[in-house]
């Protein structure tokens, strides 16, 4: 009996000792460029890339270079870089998934140089999340006056899409982008009709967008979104868009008072209820 307890204790001691030897053996070191912006990116990159007893990653936010130290018998550079890309950071071997990149906090949205921006017409179903910055760059060359408001409308759609997914975090991020877009609009470059409407809705639009940007509560965001959508409707009506916009209505929201929203797709995807009642609603008007 005593022997049993002794063996037991020894055994337990042996088990715990295994974990105290945390060194990286057979270590190889490499330096590699990883895209990112701020200190938040640094902690994200290092957390994703490092693996206990296997790899350590240290990233410098000014040089954008990371030093990798890893056990060559357990892993390789590609495995580490893949983990970092999956966390949202492009590098020379891997591009981050588009939706993961889009969900990064605004300060982390680095310029995706490695990702080619050639729009290939072959990929009919390719979905790309553009940061509003690159969109505005593309639009600045266009001569059509209504392009100014495109950025505002597109970022509104991103907020709407985030609310459809009931993703408070994402809608907050997209609302920040919307605020920026609103502030970047130069009134002098708008058409006469747009100008009048813009003067009317601009302040409210900015206020509502800011409210959503400042809230992490999806319910509060949605309440404000209802007001925001009314502003957007006026704006969209006054501006000529190259693709139709659907003005849709959910009768149940807000205790049956109902609410509207704008969408690029005719299929009803409800931003006020998300997956709980995705298809509730109907198209009231088509703007084109």
């Amino acid at each position: 009996m005593k022997l049993v307890s002794k063996t037991l204790l020894l055994f337990v001691a042996l088990l715990s000792s295994k974990n105290t030897l945390a060194q990286i053996k057979n270590s190889k070191t490499e330096t590699v460029k990883i895209y990112g912006n701020c200190s938040m990116c640094k902690s994200r990159i290092e957390k994703a890339g490092s693996l206990k007893n296997t790899a350590t990653v240290i990233w410098d936010k000014d040089s954008k270079k990371a030093s990798l130290r890893y056990d060559g018998s357990k892993t390789n550079r590609d495995e580490i870089l893949k983990r970092i890309a999956l966390a949202g950071h492009d590098n020379e071997k891997f591009l981050a998934p588009d939706d993961v990149y889009a969900q990064l906090p605004e300060c982390c949205l680095y310029n995706r140089e490695l990702k080619l921006t050639s729009k290939s017409n072959v990929a009919a179903g390719v979905r790309r999340e553009h940061s509003s910055q690159s969109e505005m760059k593309q639009n600045s060359q266009a001569t059509i006056k209504s392009q100014q408001l495109n950025a505002v409308i597109e970022s509104y759609f991103s907020v709407k899409d985030a609310l459809v997914k009931s993703d408070a975090n994402a809608s907050m991020q997209k609302a920040i982008v919307l605020v920026k877009a609103i502030r970047a609009v130069e009134m002098t470059k708008l058409s006469a009709e747009e100008h009048t409407t813009w003067m009317k809705v601009r302040n409210e639009l900015e206020q509502n967008a800011q409210r959503i940007a400042g809230s992490k509560d999806v319910a509060k965001q949605r309440t404000t979104f209802a007001l925001l959508s009314e502003n957007m409707y006026d704006l969209a009506k006054s501006s000529k868009q190259d693709k139709p916009i659907y003005y849709q209505h959910c009768p149940m929201y807000n205790n049956g008072k109902g609410a509207h929203w704008l969408s690029k797709e005719s299929a009803v995807k409800n931003p006020y209820y998300g997956s709980k009642m995705m298809t509730c609603g109907s198209t009231k008007e088509t703007l084109d």
Partner: protein
């Protein structure tokens, strides 16, 4: 006239050489090998030195000749999945041939009378799990009228998905039968009480155990790695010698050679177009993703959007724990976001609602079929969002709980998932109207707690072959009354899936049927022989979820004694499993050993103290499980105990019966019944008149690695325990026993 005859003969001879049968001969050498997928060297089986087995390519009209050289120490076989051939070439040991003995050579020879993507694998034991799987591709004839330009002329590559586990598959099979939840611990899917409380689902877990369910997952086995064509990550830079570039379309002929995993297939470069299924053309349908069932095949077309980028084609296991990639294109690799982990407690809540107390499923009037509704959607964060949906009863009066669309993934979000109702054959597949129709109904049944899988609650060893007249049309309606989905596979034929497409109903040979779904399939039984019909999840098949259709009166030259052979087949899927555990503790040795199969169980329990004062006890029971849920087990038993003045002086039991002897040997008769909360109630009557009732439960999942248990009986004995699981074979256990006091020990488990 003579001239005419000569010309005719010349023409005939010429035409014969035109349509001369090309014999495609393959020599396959099957050998034991060592692989290092998981770091350490493990045993596997390679053919011609390769895993997967080499891709066999044919053109419709060829004659296939495959010579198998068995260089293993065990017998083997090869089955040609989805291929139409004479029954004796089908490759099922004991049903269509004798097993190929070690050292022997066996030749399969048959004409190829179809085209499409198929695959082949061993049908012996669990060899399919350790490397014996490969692609079997049949190209269309160049003058085939059904040739689709833009689809059938694309650069194409065969792809076979598979799994790797470092554990011996026999051990996995054994652990499944002893409900060893080590796989769940590795997958982080134990769904214990502590985790339930943390997620706010305590009531859900309680209800789940009240209904006598164990924590369930979409798949039971933990795999260390997933492989596509034998590798976890592959670069596809060129096809047929041509570099891939922007705008190129590539056709992937995908076979799921996994033994038990379903895979989600997704592509970073955009939409996926499905052009064929189970080797049969379908009208192209564009989706964002599809799930491929065990043993199914799908031909899909993907497009490369840009130059300079290689797009990830990702196959993820249904339980989301593992994945493998194929990077299509040249350049920097564009990744696709991995599928998030399942919300297990949401799934548990859904199952609580679906399961009645007696074990039957209740579909609440939803009439599900053809994978159109996926109940598991409640667990997918990518469709139903993260975390528990808040109950916003104040906001609106409409109750989502009754919305028929709440399980329809395609209505809940903007991700389009393929389902069988979307498949349509490009041509008429109707069966001859004058053929007599025979209707069959099968209910898929199963029991997770004892890992018994059956059809109509009967395993193969409990049924005879089903006789079918040659030329009949069999119309089979299948209802899944179990909590897991099953890929039902028919050997030798394609069947029409009745999915609302009328004459253009698609042809398949594997039907994935989800819990509570009802599907109807039909086929013309125009080839004689014994044709296997079974669930293709390897561990379910080996547990008895099979039937045999005996079409016509087939004399198989390989099986002179068909009756004996069938018995061997039946035995193979109802093998007994052994499990044992013993706790080497400070206050004695507590343990159990059990030998059991689908219906019978022979078990021995022992409690051995270290001295005569604490006493020794050994009980043996031989029982038979009754009923669909197997909650009831009557048994006969034998009990032996010896004690001299124990700590516990109670020699009188609750009924006032006394036992004065130091040694006691007694026979008993009794039964065990599983109560709600998974507590086992046992009632026993001994030949000397003593009656004993007891309540006990082991393995209460307190937390991920902590298990609790208790026992209390009318002999006024009581036991409580707590066990910490270190790995699959041992744990640390502490327990208090009314006879032997408090103790701490090392618990070993086999």
């Amino acid at each position: 006239m003579k001239l005419f005859k000569t010309v005719l003969t010349i023409l005939l001879l010429y035409s014969q050489s035109l349509f001369a049968q090309t014999v495609m001969r393959y020599e396959l050498y099957v050998k034991d090998t060592l692989v290092h997928y998981g770091g350490k060297g493990k045993k596997a089986i390679a053919v011609n030195g390769k895993i997967p087995m080499p891709t066999l390519t044919f053109t419709e009209g060829d004659t296939a000749e495959i010579v198998v050289h068995n260089q293993l120490k065990k017998s083997t076989s090869l089955h040609w999945h989805g291929v139409f051939l004479p029954n004796k070439e089908d490759g099922v040991p004991w049903l269509t041939q004798m097993p190929i003995k070690p050292g022997a050579t066996f030749t399969y020879r048959f004409p190829i009378i179809q085209h499409g993507t198929h695959w082949y694998h061993s049908h012996s034991g669990l060899q399919e799990q350790i490397g014996m799987y490969g692609s079997f591709v049949i190209k269309k004839r160049t003058d085939d009228k059904t040739f689709r330009s833009g689809i059938d002329d694309l650069p194409t590559i065969p792809i076979i998905l598979s799994e790797w586990t470092n554990l011996n598959p026999d051990n996995i099979h054994r652990m499944l039968h002893s409900a060893n939840d080590w796989a769940a611990i590795r997958k982080n899917a134990t769904q214990s009480y502590a985790e339930a409380i943390k997620d706010g689902h305590f009531k859900t877990k309680l209800t789940n155990e009240w209904k006598r369910m164990l924590a369930m997952d979409v798949s039971d086995v933990y795999y260390d790695k997933i492989l596509i064509n034998g590798n976890n990550s592959t670069d596809l830079k060129e096809v047929d010698g041509r570099q891939l570039k922007a705008g190129d379309k590539v056709r992937l002929r995908i076979s799921n050679g996994g033994a038990s995993s379903y895979f989600w297939l997704r592509y970073a470069g955009g939409k996926i177009t499905v052009v064929a299924n189970d080797g049969n053309d379908v009208e192209p349908v564009e989706v964002d993703r599809l799930i491929i069932a065990v043993s199914e095949t799908y031909d899909i077309v993907v497009t490369i959007p840009d130059d300079g980028v290689a797009y990830e084609f990702l196959a993820t296991t249904e339980d989301r724990t593992q994945s493998a990639s194929y990077f299509v294109g040249n350049g920097i690799k564009q990744l696709i976001s991995p599928l998030p982990r399942l919300k297990y407690f949401e799934g548990m809540k859904m199952m609580n609602d679906m399961m009645k107390m007696n074990g039957d499923l209740d579909d609440m009037g939803m009439k599900m079929s053809l994978n159109q509704m996926d109940m598991n959607v409640v667990m997918y964060p990518e469709i139903t969002g993260e975390g528990k949906p808040k109950s916003n009863h104040g906001e609106h009066s409409m109750n989502m709980d009754n919305d028929p669309n709440r399980y329809n993934a395609n209505a809940l979000g903007n991700i389009v998932t393929l389902n069988y109702a979307m498949l349509k054959s490009p041509y008429n597949t109707s069966l001859p109207k004058e053929a007599p129709v025979k209707d069959f109904k099968f209910t898929l049944t199963g029991n997770m707690n004892r890992y018994v899988w059956s059809m109509d609650n009967r395993v193969l060893s409990e049924t005879d072959k089903i006789p079918v007249k040659k030329g009949e049309v069999l119309r089979i309606t299948i209802y899944n009354n179990s909590m897991m989905r099953h890929p039902m596979h028919l050997h030798g034929f394609d069947f029409r899936v009745i999915n609302g497409k009328g004459e253009k109903s698609p042809l398949k040979n594997v039907l994935d049927i989800m819990p509570m779904e009802t599907d109807t399939i039909e086929f013309l039984a125009n080839e004689e022989g014994d044709w296997f019909f079974h669930c293709h999840i390897l561990y379910h098949m080996m547990s008895g979820m099979n039937r045999v259709f005996a079409v016509g009166e087939y004399n198989n030259p390989y099986l002179p004694n068909k009756k004996q052979a069938y018995n061997a087949l039946q035995r193979e899927s109802n093998m007994p499993h052994f499990m044992a555990h013993n706790d080497f503790a400070t206050n004695g040795n507590d343990g159990e050993a059990m030998f059991q199969n689908a219906r019978l169980s022979l078990g021995t329990e022992w409690r051995l103290g270290y001295s005569a004062m604490h006493g020794y006890e050994v009980e043996t029971h031989l029982g038979r499980y009754i009923g669909k849920m197997q909650w009831f087990m009557p048994f006969v038993g034998f009990d032996w105990r010896y004690r001299k003045m124990g700590i516990d002086e109670h020699e009188t039991n609750l009924f006032g019966q006394k036992n004065e002897k130091d040694t006691r040997r007694a026979f008993s008769v009794g039964f065990m019944y599983t109560l709600p909360m998974l507590v086992n109630f046992q009632a026993e009557v001994y030949h000397d008149g003593i009656v004993r009732l007891s309540l006990m439960r082991e393995d209460i999942p307190i937390s991920k690695r902590l298990r609790a248990g208790f026992m209390i009986n009318t002999d006024k004995e009581f036991m409580a325990e707590l066990k910490f699981l270190v790995n699959k074979n041992f744990g640390i256990r502490t327990h208090y026993d009314s006879d032997m006091g408090l103790g701490l020990g090392l618990s070993l488990n086999y």
